[in-house]
């Protein structure tokens, strides 16, 4: 569906069900240069099982209008406004990669609004490889190719997509190239590289938190994910073997199972 935040069009997938304000809200926040489509194997399930879902396209990404936001802090503020704009007082957040930085920052700023926080392939900081950052800022498609290489584990590199007939690396590449690389990936990578408040923000988080990490994640290694999780009171950690940074697609079923258990027990659906 489309709605407005700060006067700009925002697109969000509602998971294939009409948006229903009477149901608890889960907001999904994608990673650098990507779109709402990375969440398709989680969102539809929740939408069909008692939740209202918004898998957002961040400003300037996917089908949303406006320009890409330049800092993680601005993105966190913006998520707060999304919740207001759709007429909710509270929501659960799910983030992937850069989306983890955004949701950590958002949860620390709005402790009353955020009811649960789920982090996929998250870390307290995501310093960028300078060469990758520069390629993305210079609109070089090689930035996408490198990201797809590093972001995928064996499932991505060999294949074996949970949805029959889909090929991970090329699908990811097309998502990341769907808008101008320097305006999406370039701005996002810079925002990640600049963001230093992750560990401080994490210490302030009081809501139930889940981290899903993957053994073959080269972008946000397990070690970094655990460091972050250790700072969040009572946070749960789930580690997936033989899987890369794109766990939400590479091991979509496993991610959904863990997420389902965590969200339904801490923020029950309305059926």
């Amino acid at each position: 569906m489309k709605f407005k935040v700060n006067g700009e069009d925002v697109y969000a997938s509602t998971g294939g069900r009409p948006f229903d304000k009477n149901k608890p809200l889960i907001i999904f926040v994608h990673g650098s240069g990507l779109t709402h489509m990375t969440w398709v194997l989680q969102t539809r399930y929740f939408a069909f099982h008692g939740y209202s879902v918004l898998a957002l396209d961040m400003p300037g990404h996917g089908l949303s209008g406006g320009k890409s936001l330049k800092s993680i802090e601005d993105m966190a503020e913006w998520i707060g406004k999304v919740i207001d704009s759709v007429g909710y007082k509270e929501a659960s957040l799910v983030g992937h990669s850069q989306g983890c930085l955004v949701t950590i920052e958002c949860t620390s700023r709005y402790p009353d609004k955020i009811k649960t926080l789920s982090l996929m392939g998250g870390a307290g900081a995501i310093p960028m490889n300078p060469e990758l950052l520069s390629l993305a800022e210079n609109n070089d498609p090689k930035a996408v190719d490198l990201m797809m290489d590093w972001a995928h584990g064996p499932a991505g590199h060999f294949g074996g997509h949970p949805v029959p007939g889909l090929y991970h690396i090329n699908t990811g590449t097309m998502l990341a190239k769907s808008r101008t690389i320097q305006n999406t990936l370039g701005v996002d990578f810079r925002a990640c590289d600049n963001y230093k408040n992750g560990f401080e923000a994490a210490k302030k988080i009081k809501c139930p938190t889940l981290s899903i990490l993957a053994t073959d994640d080269k972008m946000c290694p397990v070690k970094e994910g655990k460091k972050l999780a250790a700072l969040i009171d009572g946070s749960q950690v789930d580690i997936i073997d033989n899987c890369g940074h794109m766990m939400l697609l590479e091991e979509a079923d496993r991610v959904l199972k863990v997420l389902k258990k965590f969200i339904t027990s801490n923020y029950p659906p309305k059926i």
Binding site: G16, L41, F158, G160, H161, P164, Y167, T171, M174, S178
Partner: protein, 443 residues
């Protein structure tokens, strides 16, 4: 992270590796190194929730082998990876891949612009069968790039062509035709059966959907019928209102908007969820496996096909019994330069040549070669020949033959990967018979 000065480059697997490995992980299949043949019609649901989730496309997985099958899925991912596509849907034959593509794209009342040099079966589909479904076509000669533009109407939903038309070996200027299609907000669909992704990756030249008859070079062994459609993932279905069943909540699939939910894989998702569900031309797991065996050696075979073809072109050009030779590697072929650009790894293994002595000579040649197989197929590892004027098109008069790009003296040759000397020796026998056709018995 690292601040080493060495230039970084992606280490994603390359073509030859993908042709052996893409789409399959042994550790998820009992360690079986070879792809297992999942000879089953249906798949257990964990519980009712799982069943509902699969039907609602909430989760990925298999329900029923008409819709998808794990062995077929490996083939689909493998071809998608080789083409540089986001997704693929394998079908029971090349024809059904073309039909499903059209039915996913078009509705009654829609129109397609189609290259006139196509496989004969495809011409029949577009000219005679699709009009029965209310889908009409305008044929344009492949070299008439501007003609494609002129033929586009308000209800045109795509342009369809083969890169190298058969049997005339005329090239369609794919990059230019792609631009025409995209300026009109419609996709370009390319049947790349004759090229395979080893010779040409149409997505790199602007195509949006690629089709293969896998029956041919991709499998190579001539044992199994199969087809596939592959999606490039770059076409924006939402740029206009031409494709409502892709872009708006679609009654045909529980109110799903394929383009919004599945973006770069929307077309394949719809072709499977709707097309395969309702028309059902699914590929058998055994045939998928057979085709996979062929794809493992695609590069090696295509190199030999092309080098043998170039040798045969030289041999035929120099031969006293040959009137003319058509192959894009011949320097005076009208598309020689375009072929160099679009087919840098080789110009393919389909040759057409004219035999001196016309129809009778053609008959004698075909009846006397022994190694080359006389049959109605192309792209086998074995050398194949056919004389259209006396066989497949024998009912046509001179004028009709000409319209179809054929002539009485034309022999179509699909060069195999046998030893080149053996192919030439066999042809010598054929040519000798052709020089005195009436003296040689037809057995």
């Amino acid at each position: 992270m690292s601040d080493k000065k060495k230039e970084i480059s992606p280490k994603t697997y390359k073509f030859d590796t993908l042709s052996l490995h893409a789409g399959y992980q042994p550790h998820k299949n009992a360690g079986s190194r070879q792809v297992p043949i999942y000879q089953t019609t249906s798949y257990l649901f964990d519980d009712v929730d799982h069943a509902a989730a699969l039907f609602n496309l909430e989760r990925g997985g298999h329900i029923y082998s008409r819709i998808s099958n794990p062995t077929v899925g490996v083939l689909e991912e493998r071809v998608a990876s080789l083409e540089g596509g986001t997704a693929a849907l394998a079908t029971s034959s090349g024809m059904s891949a073309i039909f499903l593509t059209v039915m996913t794209l078009c509705e009654a009342g829609d129109h397609l612009v189609v290259s006139s040099q196509l496989y004969g079966g495809t011409v029949n589909l577009f000219r005679l069968t699709l009009p029965k479904f209310g889908i009409t076509c305008t044929f344009v000669k492949p070299r008439d790039t501007e003609g494609f533009k002129k033929a586009i109407k308000k209800n045109t939903k795509g342009i369809f062509g083969e890169l190298v038309g058969n049997p005339g070996n005329e090239l369609m200027n794919m990059p230019d035709v792609a631009k025409i299609a995209h300026d009109a907000g419609i996709p370009l669909i390319v049947d790349a059966t004759y090229q395979t992704p080893y010779l040409c990756k149409p997505f790199e030249h602007g195509a949006d959907i690629v089709i293969h008859s896998l029956t041919k070079w991709m499998a190579g062994h001539g044992s199994s019928m199969a087809g596939i459609l592959v999606e490039g993932g770059n076409f924006d279905w939402m740029q206009n209102d031409k494709f409502p069943t892709m872009t708006t909540p679609y009654e045909g699939y529980h109110g799903l908007s394929f383009a919004e939910e599945f973006g770069p894989t929307a077309f394949t998702m719809k072709a499977r969820a709707e097309g395969m569900r309702d028309f059902g031309p699914c590929l058998s797991p055994q045939n998928a496996w057979n085709v996979l065996q062929g794809i493992e050696t695609l590069s090696v075979r295509m190199k030999k096909h092309c080098s043998n073809a170039e040798e045969m072109v030289k041999y035929l050009l120099a031969h006293e019994s040959v009137a003319w030779v058509s192959h894009p590697s011949v320097p005076d072929h009208p598309d020689h330069e375009l072929a160099k650009k679009l087919l840098p790894n080789g110009r393919g293994s389909m040759i057409a040549f004219g035999i001196k002595g016309g129809k009778d000579a053609g008959v004698a040649f075909i009846n006397n070669v022994k190694l080359a197989s006389h049959l109605a197929n192309v792209g086998d590892t074995r050398t194949l020949v056919i004389h259209p004027a006396s066989g497949t098109h024998s009912q046509m008069d001179e004028a009709t033959l000409k319209f179809a790009g054929l002539s009485h003296d034309m022999i179509r040759l699909s060069v195999g990967i046998e030893d080149i000397d053996d192919i030439k020796n066999d042809f010598e026998v054929g040519f000798r018979a052709a020089r005195k056709p009436r003296l040689v018995s037809n057995q």
